[in-house]
């Protein structure tokens, strides 16, 4: 069931956006850091705590049975949302960072000294540092994948690197710092032809695109709930069954076992094997509500709305003048990265904050990319389903005031 595209009605579902900051309406342009949550997500989590609170997969009482049923329903929702072939290919984690760490840790027995691991130069630290740790442990070698002029992965350079027969290739679907979109299906296909295991970081893509992991054909796809209108504390690790089943569990203990004795322990089957300990049950319930929220939106109209808003934002910044844009092009997704002339991004951020504008200013946990751009950092405005033209206009007016103060 889809609703007609009434943007004001969609925005009205997000209670945080109704507040004033510094005597101005809050202008939230930091969705790439974390999205706001609709009332339905907040209600679902409250409902769980008020009526269904019990641990899952453990007790033999009604409450636990209900909690378990609702928790496992969300796994089915996620399966449908990303179109994975099997239900046990969907693992609940605490977020994208943990998902990548589970893979990087779990695969270490399959990695030998001098194996090559290719990593996206524009990646978020969460998709760099775990591979570095793996390389430290195994003697594998990390090679960054160069970027082209548009700051997405350079296919020619990638083809060259694939001749080294890498063990694993990790890259972003959409980069968090610049919003550049990588051609994931082609990149995965090339990597697979070279015999590499593939991991795609979908944290910045999941709220904006339809994700079909079977069409992408990657071995692993990871994302977080909190960037797709869901709560913090829950993420997803999707893995192709045979790859996922080979991972050594990073966390061991409760509920991931078949049998435990002091003579030895046998691990359970997927997904339990990779879900040790009590999960973030309320966050999983909230994620289910977030998926329902997204599924009820008219996808095509939402995409057009976000794209036209981003184009408008890029145009307004160019018109404002004295603005340096980074990696801005018409294919970008959700994000504009910029600096005001040669001013420090922190000064710009502090002055925008004085005017009720929420943007991110910093290195965006993508220091190698910042080094490549020869900047210390930048400001990043990012949009979500709830943003409208007034937000952009308020932001541009505020930025004009910042320019007056600084330049």
């Amino acid at each position: 069931m889809t609703i007609a595209f009434e943007h004001d009605a969609i925005r009205a579902q997000f209670p945080t956006l109704a507040q004033q900051l510094e005597d101005q309406p809050l202008c939230y342009l930091d969705t790439a850091a974390t999205s706001q949550k609709p009332q339905s997500v907040i209600d679902a989590m409250n409902h769980y705590y008020q009526l269904d609170n019990a641990n899952v997969h453990r007790a033999a009482h009604q409450l636990s049975a209900r909690a378990t049923l609702n928790y496992e329903k969300v796994r089915e929702q996620v399966q449908g949302f990303i179109n994975s072939a099997r239900l046990d290919e969907v693992i609940f984690t605490h977020g994208t960072t943990e998902s990548i760490n589970i893979v990087a840790y779990g695969i270490s027995q399959q990695v030998n000294a001098n194996d090559i691991i290719l990593v996206d130069s524009a990646a978020h630290h969460a998709n760099i540092v775990p591979w570095q740790q793996l390389a430290k442990k195994t003697g594998a070698i990390i090679k960054p994948i160069p970027l082209n002029d548009e700051l997405s992965i350079d296919h020619a350079a990638f083809d060259e690197l694939l001749k080294l027969s890498p063990k694993l290739v990790a890259f972003s679907h959409v980069t968090n710092a610049l919003g550049t979109v990588n051609d994931v299906e082609i990149l995965v296909q090339k990597a697979k032809s070279a015999g590499a295991i593939t991991l795609v970081d979908g944290a910045q893509a999941i709220a904006h695109f339809d994700i079909d992991v079977q069409a992408i054909d990657c071995d692993f796809y990871v994302f977080s709930g909190h960037k797709m209108y869901g709560p913090t504390g829950v993420g997803i690790l999707y893995g192709r069954f045979d790859q996922l089943d080979q991972l050594a569990p990073m966390l061991t203990g409760g509920e991931m076992i078949k049998t435990v004795s002091f003579a030895g322990t046998e691990f359970g089957d997927l997904p339990n094997k990779l879900e040790a300990g009590t999960p973030a049950i309320s966050a999983v319930i909230g994620l289910g509500a977030a998926i329902s929220f997204i599924n009820a939106l008219p996808k095509e109209q939402v995409r057009q709305h976000e794209q036209s808003l981003l184009t408008y934002l890029q145009q307004q910044l160019i018109q404002l003048g004295d603005i340096r844009l980074y990696g801005a092009n018409k294919h970008n997704c959700g994000v504009v990265a910029f600096n005001v002339s040669s001013e420090h991004h922190q000064d710009v951020g502090i002055l925008l904050d004085q005017q009720g504008i929420a943007v991110r200013c910093g290195h965006h946990c993508a220091m190698p990319l910042m080094q490549q751009l020869a900047i210390k950092g930048c400001c990043r405005a990012s949009i979500g389903i709830y943003n409208n033209k007034q937000d952009i206009d308020q932001f541009i007016t505020a930025l004009r005031n910042v320019k007056e103060l600084l330049l």
Partner: protein
């Protein structure tokens, strides 16, 4: 996060001219911040105060003098004459440099006891700048104040 003070002993120390008493312009300007009519005036004033601090020569902008825990880069040096403590500092952010100058206005030339008793929160609250003291990792003011206190207590 505060800097490792022991490492500073190997760092090239700026000459004494850097540690001379602060210009009176700073304390005058700090009082005008309290009276600023709007955020523009307040931040314009903060940036002007920052300009009063002598810029550190590039040679002194080294990692061992850096105060970590700030989105911008900030460097801090300490010089002691008996129980009096003098500081010089710089930042690549104009607002942070202004905030440092405001911080030095309350600590530069003060005694060990005075610095130990210095209440950062109260001081910035008086100036209507408590918003700049968020525990967020991007704001280095608390880290700078801690570094000043550590130097003075060492």
């Amino acid at each position: 996060m505060s800097q490792n003070i022991t490492s500073q002993s190997e760092t090239l120390q700026p000459d004494n001219s850097y540690f001379s008493p602060l210009s009176e312009k700073i304390s005058d300007a700090v009082t005008t911040i309290e009276q600023a009519k709007n955020w523009q005036d307040k931040y314009r004033q903060i940036m002007l105060i920052g300009k009063v601090l002598a810029p550190l020569a590039e040679a002194y902008k080294v990692e061992t003098a850096q105060v970590k825990g700030c989105e911008s880069q900030a460097w801090l040096y300490h010089h002691q004459i008996e129980s009096q403590h003098f500081f010089c500092a710089d930042s690549d952010s104009r607002i942070v440099k202004g905030l440092i100058a405001i911080l030095l206005n309350a600590t530069h030339g003060k005694t060990t006891t005075e610095i130990a008793n210095f209440d950062l929160d109260h001081y910035f609250q008086q100036l209507g700048l408590s918003g700049q003291l968020s525990p967020s990792r991007t704001n280095g003011l608390t880290a700078l104040a801690n570094a000043i206190k550590q130097f003075a207590a060492a």
